[in-house]
Amino acid sequence: MVLLAQRWAEKFMDRNPEISVQVSGGGSGTGLTALIDGTTDIATASRSIAPKESERIVATYGGEPHETPVAIDAVALYVHRDNPVPALGLPQTKEVFRGRVLDWSALGVPLGHIVLYSRENNSGTYTFFKETVLENEDFAAEAQTLPGTAAVINAVSRDLAAIGYGGIGFASGARIVPIALEDGTAISPNAETARNGTYPLARPLFLYTAGPIDETAQRYVDFALSAEGQTLVEDLGYFPLPIEGPIAGGRG
């Protein structure tokens, strides 16, 4: 979600030329670590803060971290655009990414050996996928790790036998596989299914601050929640928060 944070920062600086915002990427873990170390004011994260990280914030700042949901992201399964696999259930997906199902023919498409693309383990998407899809089991050792969702999509779009996962914000060049629920209905990720929770791999994106929040940081958070900020959310392919959400509290 570094792109989103960057867009917000650009627009925010347009509106408030006296404030300068620097955005750097690296993954949710990177941002939260920076927050703990005091090298950033706001950390963006695509996962909830871990208990351990939270403890460290309390230890450093003497108070709980402050969490603001700012958008909704759906993690999508990507395959090559010529891969005809109709839909995958979560249990099937788990077996595939654990390396128990090795060949596409087991999933009904004759494409040969499955090539797995995963994210680097500092990514919030990695943690989310591991917890939600793999149910905390390990990825297959053969899963290749790439440094960003864009890289995953790029790799998948070049490889007929590939499957990867990543935030939906970047979808282009590869095909998104719908997820089959237990009753057999296939759900594609879109604004509606992500918000109402029928798409099983949807998750909120957060901004985290720690300690006594300074006024400038608060203005950035408010901006992210404002109508303008939420338009940028949509522009980047994420889903804005439902209107009745915490957006009402924003001052922006």
């Binding site: 690296g26 383990n121 790439l146």
Partner: protein, 316 residues
Amino acid sequence: MSLGQHRKAPAWHAVAEYLIGGLAITAIAAIVLIFGFVAREAIPLLWETQEEIRFVDLVWPRQWPGYEEPVYVWQPIGKIPKYNLVPLFVGTLKVTILSMLISAPLGLACAIYLAHYAGSRTREIVKPVIELLAGIPSVVLGFFGLVLVASVVHDTFGFIYRLNGLVAALVLSITVIPVVFTICEDALRSVPRALHEGAIALGARTHEVVFRVSLPAALPGIAAAMVLGLGRAIGETMVVLMASGNAAVVDLFDWSTSVRTVTATIAAELGEVPRGEPHWRVLFLLGAILFLITYGLNALAAWSVRRLSAHLGGRS
């Protein structure tokens, strides 16, 4: 009477001497301090985290919950973090060996060609061009590997994995060849002319001069070139991070699978780990081991040069 008096060096000479000596000591101190810092972060592993990491799990396969057999796993993030170092060193070893197999003969052959066969004009063009390779930023090479070399290898060999050990080794060779080449070429050219000319005077052909005279005489330098090239290959980070696929698999002699090297692991993971966590300490342990390996290689190079030159010097 003043003529015979020894002239005393001006006082600032002594100052300059101290200054230069101080600079030299700074360099040594920097190395010692860096190693000290890296080791200091890793050493608490010995007593601090016995419940979270058993030492034997770092090097020995273990049957974790959910696995059918004991395995080497590097998955430091998750409910049960698994820090087996073996897949990472296997990855480093695989890529390093293959890239040395590619670049050592190429670098040496280039050096021999330029030192003995090529005319001086060819040499003036080719040498700087090869050395220019060393100046390409490794991130550019990594991108080149990721996009182009990977596709060529994929189309040629049809491996299952597009990014694999072979791609990484090929691209890595581009960074190693200039190192091997430059030092080999210097070593070959510093063989005393008298030896060449003597051999030619005795009727030796060029290839006989090369194999019987130049190569044996330049052996210490060539050995040093190989060891320094090896050090470069082990230490290179960006190229392997981008072109190897970074899957921590243990297939020792299969270059068609993806590899995850020690350096790439440190680069990819260190930024996200909170200070003082077991994961942090293990990454520093990797760094310390890497440091010892490269230090050992450099020491080996120095030792072999000294030994070989003493040996050759005694014989001639």
